[in-house]
Each structure stands twice: as structure tokens, then as C-alpha cells.
């Protein structure tokens, strides 16, 4: 039981952070906050992948002269994948902020209830 | 060299702690900004300088010096810009009661 706690605690924290995303998107009525919770979720996915690559006795995956062998370096593959994921999150953020500005311009509000009311007028 | 580094490190750390205390304890924004802007800048600069001395003379130390330079440039300007924005948007400075 104690092992489970030390070995998986970080996963749990990360998954909690991940579920903050859907929670915020459902229960926060402000669109900017929905956007933020989306971003938090993406960060949690990144953390999850990085946690997978951890290794005791591993250092940063940049070659040190004289230190040869796979067991001395952290797995570089998740880092690569997550670089892509970060870039994707920035891209999504840009697009959705553009969308929000347009919504604000037309409807003058970013609160979901108010927005729905104004849309159906 | 080590002694110099140690002195720099500890004095830098002292200023950082003092700045942090100030930010926590001072009564209003302007005084807190005062603590952060002055204390923190000096503290960081001394601390990083100490690390640079400890590291010896190489490319990394040059970069550390660059950081010191940049902190010295950016932090006060940040403070200036921030206090200007605060004052212009109508935040009143704190005064002792009754004055």
C-alpha cells in the first residue's frame, strides 16, 4: 500500500489536474475560463507523458562526453512528443482567442448564459 | 575565490529573504513594490554573481553575468511600469491613519 502511494501519487496528482479540464469546461460559465481549463488539461497530458519517461539514475537526454549507455539518460521520446503537444496547445489557444474576440465583438458578452440568450434573440 | 562566492551568496540570499518578507508584510501595493523592486533585484544580482564566481571563468559565467545585467535592466523597469499603471488607474498610496 505504501509503495502504491509513493509510486503512483504523482500520476494521481497529474490525473487530477487532467480532470480539472473537463470540470472547468462544464461548470465554468465564462468562456475565457473554459479556455484556461482546456489549457490546464493539455499541460496535464504533457506532465503525464514526461512522468512516463522517468528513470532512476538517468540524466537529461543530452549527450555528455564519456557517459555512454541507455541506462544513463532519460527517455527522449516523450520529450519530443510533448514538444509537439505544447506547440499544438499554443496553436489552439491562438485560434480560440481569435474566436472569443469575434464572439465578444458581435454579442458583447462572454458569459455562456447571457450569450445563449443574446444568440436566440 | 570561494570566500568571495560565499559572501556574495549569503548576502544575496539575505536580500532575497528580506524582499520576500517585505512583499508579505508591507501594508499596501507601493510599499510592497518598493521591497520587491529594490531588495529582490539586488538579492538576485548578488546571488547569481556569487554563483558565477563559484563557477569559475567560462562561457556559462558570461551567461550568468548576462542574467545579472538583464535582471538589473528589466526589474526596475517592470517596477516603474507597474507603479505608473497602478497610479494612473487610481490606486491611492497608503498613509497612516489620521494624516
Amino acid at each position: 500500500m505504501r509503495e502504491l502511494f509513493t509510486e503512483h501519487l504523482i500520476y494521481w496528482l497529474i490525473l487530477f489536474l487532467f480532470m480539472l479540464g473537463p470540470y472547468g469546461m462544464i461548470f465554468k460559465k465564462n468562456l475565457v475560463k473554459k479556455l484556461m481549463s482546456m489549457n490546464i488539461m493539455q499541460v496535464a497530458v504533457i506532465l503525464f507523458f514526461l512522468a512516463l519517461g522517468q528513470k532512476t539514475g538517468g540524466t537529461i537526454p543530452i549527450n555528455l562526453p564519456g557517459l555512454i549507455g541507455a541506462e544513463h539518460y532519460i527517455n527522449p521520446l516523450p520529450h519530443t512528443l510533448m514538444l509537439t503537444a505544447i506547440v499544438v496547445s499554443l496553436a489552439t489557444l491562438g485560434v480560440s482567442l481569435g474566436l472569443l474576440l469575434t464572439v465578444q465583438k458581435r454579442y458583447g458578452t462572454l458569459e455562456e448564459d447571457e450569450l445563449l440568450r443574446r444568440m436566440n434573440q | 575565490m570561494t570566500i568571495v562566492a560565499l559572501v556574495l551568496l549569503f548576502s544575496g540570499f539575505f536580500f532575497i529573504v528580506v524582499a520576500a518578507l517585505g512583499v508579505i508584510r508591507f501594508p499596501d501595493f507601493y510599499t510592497r513594490l518598493h521591497a520587491a523592486g529594490k531588495g529582490d533585484t539586488l538579492g538576485i544580482a548578488l546571488f547569481v554573481l556569487g554563483l558565477a564566481v563559484y563557477n569559475g571563468f567560462n562561457f556559462v559565467s558570461l551567461k550568468l553575468l548576462l542574467i545579472v545585467l538583464f535582471v538589473f535592466l528589466a526589474n526596475p523597469i517592470g517596477g516603474h511600469v507597474l507603479s505608473r499603471a497602478a497610479f494612473r488607474s487610481g490606486l491611492k498610496p497608503w498613509t497612516k491613519k489620521g494624516e
Binding site: G21, V95, L99 | -
Partner: protein
């Protein structure tokens, strides 16, 4: 160059898309030619690759010549080849159609529209032919982002629905990525073939179950499987007519293809927790078919009706997936093809009517058959196919689905399919009634009787007619299609 065909399928539209703002700055006509060329090249190479896959077996293409699992590979087997042909064909057809809507726009708008459209094509094609689960995510994001852009360019209401789509779509993509993370954690590989091998001893692990659920939810959101379809109706209704036929026709189908690929090829339908998950999918899909069809009846906007019908039709694919046997597989893939073609055709018709009359409401379709006979003919074929009337394609996919359900003794699914066909008939008959039987009000009638112009410009009419013909052709040629391609595509190589 022949051995580089798989790369060309995706690369050519991508390259042209990257240059299109630049090209549009100098000449929009040149851009139009380049875009059509790119789509055509992509289509031709997809056909070539499919031919190779059918005659000589699956084609593996290594990017950077790094062998998998270290590098990224493209796999063209009959299934992915068929999907690539479908996507690139529809992309080409809709691109011809797009032209009339864009002629009057400025260079920037045209350049961006072409770029986004070609990027969407490239993204969807990349998703179909890739053999790497993370590469699939990257192309998923390319296609989603370009779809957000295309949908949002349709006015203010479209912006709101596009924002909702961004949120929901990102949740879907993140769920998918987390699922990939679980798979990566227990196998250490990202290559699909390698995953299949390394997952075999692990299929009873809880982590695989979670990964399965995460991927199912993620892709389910993207393909608008029933309880997760909230973003779809608004997005389809408000987006601009130049882009929506392709998005509606192809995007959700490619996501469905990804699910098929995962469940039939990577997890294997008979192992571990898979049958349990599939059973749940089946019930949800059956419920979704009925509810979405009922919702479609209640709509007064033609596009909104089509959107709800899309949700119902995606349910059929889910049903085929959940059956998990050969007939279910064939039915699902066949329905992907059919539905892509007919939904594309129907949205083209909706766009054509909008172009001519500026209307989307069903009640304004009165006597449309005399004003636009060819367009309405194509609509009639599409509607018959949706309902499932024999010579058209839609009948046969339902037929295979029913066969699959009978084979598994799930008679309730048979009932669901037949019932939903009836519901389909009801909501399409409303439109048919308006278009063929109702008389238009006199004032409007005089207007269009005087009108001597052709019903639509040729660039719009040809795609509509071609797709209408395709519905018939696919229906009539279903036997060779199934026995030559779909049976080869079934994992294990058919009977």
C-alpha cells in the same frame, strides 16, 4: 518516383497549402489551378497506392528511411488505401464546387480558404494512411484546426459554434493523447504494427481497458457518436457552404475509420476487455440512431436536419464496429463510404439551393424540382440512399449490418436498423414532398418561370451530378467492391 507514391498522397496538398497565401497574393487564378492539381495528384497517387496494396500486399513507406518502430511509417493496406481514395476523391470534387463561392472574395480570404481546405485534406489523408499513433494525433490536430478555421469563417453564429467545437474537440484530442500515453506506458511503442504484437500478452491489464475507453471517448467526440455529439448540429448549420460538404462528408468518417483501425487491427475484437467495451458501444449507438433520427424529424432547417441525420448515420458505423464480426466490419466500412458520398452530395445540394435562392428552410423548397431538376435529382438519389432503397448504395450497407446482427443473434439491432430507416424515410419525405409535390406561391413562381439562366454554374452542377451518379454506381457495383476490396481489408485477409 513510383516508390514514393504514399508520401505524395499527403505531401502534395500540404505543399500547395503552404504556398497558397503567397500564390494568392500574385494570382488567385493560378492558386485555383494549383489547388485542383494538388487534389488531383493526391487522388491519382491514392488510386495507385490502393492498386499496389490490392495486388502486391500492404505497402510500407518509411519516412526518412528509419525503420519502424524508431521512425514513422505509412501503411497502405486495402482499408487505408480505400479510405485515402475516398477522401481525396471527395476533396477533389468539393474543391471544384468551392470555386463559385469564392470568386468575389479578396486575395487574402481566397488564399486562406484554399490553404485551410488543402490542409484539411492533407490532415485527413495523413490520418488514414499513417501507421503511427502519435503521427495520427498530429494530423488529427492539423485537420481539426483547419476545420475550426473553415467553420468559423461562416459568420457570427458560426463563431460561437466553432468555439464550442474547439473546446470539445480539444477535449477529444487530449483524451486520445492520454490513451496513447497509457498504451505507450505499457508497451513502449508508438507504431501500430509493433503495438499490436506487444499488446497481445497485456490485453487483460486494466491499463489497456482505460486506454481503450480513453481512445473511444476521444474519437467518439470527434466523430460525434451519440451522447458526445453536442458540437455537431450547430457547427454544420452555421458553417459556410463552400467548406461544409467536405467537413460533413469526410471528417467524422475518418475518425470512425480510426476507431475501426484501433478495435479491429490493434486491440483485436475478441481479446481481453474488447467485447465488453464493444457491447456498450453497440447499445449506445443503437440508442443514438433512434434519438438522432427523431431529432432530425423536428428540424425545419435543411442543413440542421442533415446534421442530425449525420449523428444517426455515425451510429450505424458504431453499430457495425460493435458487432465485431466480418459482416459488421464490412457494413461499417461500406457505410463509411456510402455516407461520406451521400452526405457530401446532400450538402452540395443544400449549398446549391442556397446559391440559387438564398434559403435553407425546408418549407422554401416548394417546387424546387422544376427550378433545379438535376440538383433535385441528385438529392432524390441521396435521400433514397439514406433511407436504404435497393439500387442505391445505402441499402447494401444496412443489409450487411443486418446480416452481422443476425449472425450474432442480436435481433434488437435489426429492429433498430429497420425502424431508423422508417424514420429516415419520414424526414426525407418531407423535403421530397416540398420539392416535387407542393406548388410554390404565385409570386415566387412568376419569378422563377421568367428566369432563363441555367440552374447552377457548371462548376457547381458537375460535382453534384457526379456524386449523385456515384451513389448509384457504388450501389450497383457493391458486389465487386465488397469481394475485391473489403474482404481483403478485413484483418486476417478475408475468407
Amino acid at each position: 518516383m513510383k516508390e514514393q507514391l504514399p508520401a505524395l498522397i499527403v505531401i502534395v496538398p500540404l505543399l500547395i497549402a503552404l504556398l497558397s497565401p503567397l500564390v494568392a497574393y500574385f494570382s488567385t487564378r493560378l492558386l485555383r489551378g494549383l489547388g485542383l492539381t494538388a487534389a488531383a495528384v493526391s487522388f491519382v497517387s491514392a488510386v495507385g497506392a490502393l492498386g499496389h496494396a490490392l495486388t502486391k500486399g500492404p505497402w510500407h513507406y518509411y519516412f526518412g528511411n528509419w525503420a519502424p518502430p524508431w521512425g514513422i511509417e505509412y501503411v497502405i493496406d486495402p482499408l487505408s488505401g480505400l479510405m485515402a481514395v475516398l477522401v481525396s476523391f471527395l476533396s477533389l470534387v468539393v474543391l471544384i464546387y468551392t470555386d463559385s463561392f469564392l470568386r468575389e472574395e479578396g486575395w487574402l480570404k481566397q488564399g486562406i480558404h484554399y490553404a485551410l481546405y488543402l490542409l484539411l485534406t492533407a490532415g485527413l489523408l495523413g490520418m488514414t494512411v499513417t501507421g503511427d499513433v502519435f503521427n495520427l494525433y498530429v494530423f488529427l490536430e492539423i485537420s481539426s484546426l483547419s476545420a475550426y478555421g473553415l467553420i468559423a469563417s461562416g459568420g457570427y453564429k458560426a463563431t460561437v459554434s466553432a468555439f464550442r467545437y474547439v473546446l470539445v474537440g480539444t477535449v477529444g484530442a487530449s483524451f486520445y493523447l492520454l490513451g496513447v500515453g497509457y498504451l505507450y506506458a505499457i508497451t513502449g511503442s508508438l507504431n501500430m504494427a509493433d503495438l499490436t504484437v506487444r499488446l497481445q500478452p497485456l490485453l487483460d491489464s486494466q491499463a489497456v481497458l482505460i486506454a481503450m475507453v480513453l481512445i473511444l471517448v476521444g474519437m467518439g467526440i470527434k466523430m460525434a457518436l451519440f451522447p458526445l455529439h453536442g458540437w455537431l448540429p450547430d457547427a454544420y448549420t452555421y458553417s459556410p457552404p463552400a467548406a461544409i460538404p467536405f467537413i460533413a462528408g469526410v471528417m467524422t468518417k475518418v475518425m470512425a475509420y480510426v476507431l475501426l483501425r484501433y478495435f479491429f487491427f490493434i486491440f483485436g475484437v475478441l481479446n481481453g476487455f474488447v467485447p465488453l467495451v464493444l457491447e456498450v458501444v453497440g447499445w449506445i449507438a443503437a440508442l443514438g440512431i433512434i434519438l438522432a433520427s427523431v431529432m432530425a424529424i423536428a428540424q425545419s432547417d435543411f442543413r440542421r436536419m442533415l446534421a442530425f441525420s449525420s449523428v444517426a448515420q455515425v451510429g450505424y458505423i458504431g453499430l457495425g464496429l460493435s458487432l465485431g464480426n466480418m459482416f459488421g466490419f464490412i457494413g461499417a466500412v461500406f457505410h463509411i463510404i456510402n455516407h461520406a458520398i451521400m452526405k457530401c452530395c446532400l450538402f452540395l445540394v443544400a449549398g446549391g439551393v442556397k446559391w440559387k435562392t438564398g434559403e435553407h428552410l425546408i418549407e422554401k423548397y416548394a417546387e424546387m424540382s422544376r427550378r433545379m431538376p438535376l440538383t433535385m435529382g441528385a438529392f432524390l438519389l441521396g435521400a433514397f440512399s439514406m433511407v436504404g432503397i435497393p439500387p442505391t448504395a445505402g441499402f447494401f450497407s444496412k443489409w450487411y449490418l443486418i446480416l452481422g446482427a443476425i449472425e450474432k443473434d442480436l435481433w434488437i439491432y435489426v429492429v433498430v436498423i429497420i425502424l431508423s430507416s422508417l424514420l429516415n424515410a419520414i424526414y426525407f419525405f418531407r423535403v421530397i414532398e416540398q420539392a416535387y409535390l407542393k406548388k410554390a406561391p404565385v409570386a415566387e413562381r412568376e419569378k422563377f418561370v421568367e428566369d432563363k439562366k441555367p440552374e447552377l454554374p457548371a462548376t457547381m452542377l458537375v460535382p453534384i451530378v457526379v456524386l449523385g451518379a456515384c451513389i448509384l454506381v457504388v450501389g450497383i457495383l457493391n458486389e465487386p467492391l465488397v469481394s475485391n476490396i473489403l474482404l481483403m481489408a478485413f484483418p486476417g485477409g478475408g475468407l
